[in-house]
Amino acid sequence: NEENIFEDGGQQLFKVEEQGCSRLCSHSSTSDGTSEDMVVLQLPYIIKFCKAHGVSKENEFGKGKSNDELKEMLLVADYLTIKDTLDYLAETLANRIKNKSVEYIRKFFGIENNFMPEEKEATRKEYELLRLLI
């Protein structure tokens, strides 16, 4: 199996899975940048990141990014099947929601609380009970 390695300016940046290849090709920009795709918006950051640092957990590339930017990159990395970047971004995202309340998490992801009323009460109570500590 040939490996599909994304290069820019002669430098190898990251590996892309089979699925990502065709997607990448189809969404590449033209020189006048008229493509509307989100890939175009975020890929430059990924490229820049990989160029300068290489993908690793030690660097804090994700740190300066807003939550929305982080989410976007995550979606792009997933869509283009760039595994290393995806792992790193998923880890960063997990750390971002780690110490937050239920309401924060919902807001962060734009999720509606779709429990039935009695389930809502039950889950709320469940969470409340488990905050009791000596």
Binding site: E7, L75, D78, E119, Y127
Partner: protein, 426 residues
Amino acid sequence: MSFRSIVRDVRDGFGSLSRRSFEVRLPGHHGRGKSHGSVHELHDQPVVIQNSRWAGLPPELLRDVIKRLEASESTWPARKHVVACAAVCRSWREMCKEIVRNPEFSGKITFPVSLKQPGPRDGTIQCFIKRDKSNLTYHLFLCLSPALLVENGKFLLSAKRTRRTTCTEYVISMDADNISRSSSTYIGKLRSNFLGTKFIIYDTQPPYNSAQLSPPGRSRRFYSKKVSPKVPTGSYNIAQVSYELNVLGTRGPRRMHCTMHSIPASALEPGGSVPGQAELNPRSLEDSLRSFSKSIDVSTEFSSSRFSDIVGPRDEEDEGKDRPLILRNKAPRWHEQLQCWCLNFRGRVTVASVKNFQLIAATQPAAGAPTPSQPPPPPPSDHDKIILQFGKVGKDMFTMDYRYPLSAFQAFAICLSSFDTKLACE
């Protein structure tokens, strides 16, 4: 759903990101050279994004994020964030259900339902109990540090003792402060007979064999679905604890037997398990912890015939397959030099007390009598394990270590009986 509509939403939100052009070189079958802006036909589906706002993650990404969170938050208090994830919405709850493993396999307590699920097969869950004599309350905590007398724990369950004319009762609750049967946090109780020699553990949830828990010939009233106004939640007899003097009378340690009606003896066999375990999805907190109501008649509870009905031999079909697990206390050894009875608590119990005990499985005799030339087969190794250990470490502090197949709730209730029994030892 394509990226284009999503991008439109994004750009409405923030349009400050600049676009850049770049060259793409992909070796391999895509060939070298620039790729231009023409749209190629996609042979596969683009990633499906939630419709409302693009902010939702695809399920597999979400699973990855939650898995990482669960793995990193393994101890309390951080573990509450896993519980938070399960409260976000339905799909998140489903995801958490799949990712968070039962205490039986993970050794971790996560959701309230963990308290009614069997403990770990490997190792024990270490807890401590704080007694408050002025309030007649007991609080069970998960140990968060190995030091015995440091009160660093995560609250699990509470109990409050009430003395009645014919019996003593302990109400068990998931709330540290509101310990009452009328609360939605009420999960069961322990009731003793007048002498404090026999105890029954009641669970608000029905066990897997609820239909069989009444001995044959019992009156219809036991199956009544009438709701007693004083007892709004269900009450299932899931276990019995009995205390007896040993053959040495009060000069020796007392004997303890626990008949676990909700746990079959087969649970300790290789490949065995505890059937009918509590589920994680409550319609309401009450529903998840109770069943339809039954009325219980105290006066007939402890009559001797009733007791033997439950403990004695059962129907043909019950034998073997479903016979309940019976636990007994490990006999201490007499230490001639120290002139006392000794059990090896492995450092988890430091104050001598008649209340201290270790429970192991009481092995049943083989179905047929072994022939003289063949020694009876040794019991499976699981039967050697100490399933519940309880003992004093300070004035009002006790440790409780439990493992599969007992749950935290059952273990706590059994320990409470040890506080109450009047049988002493000289």
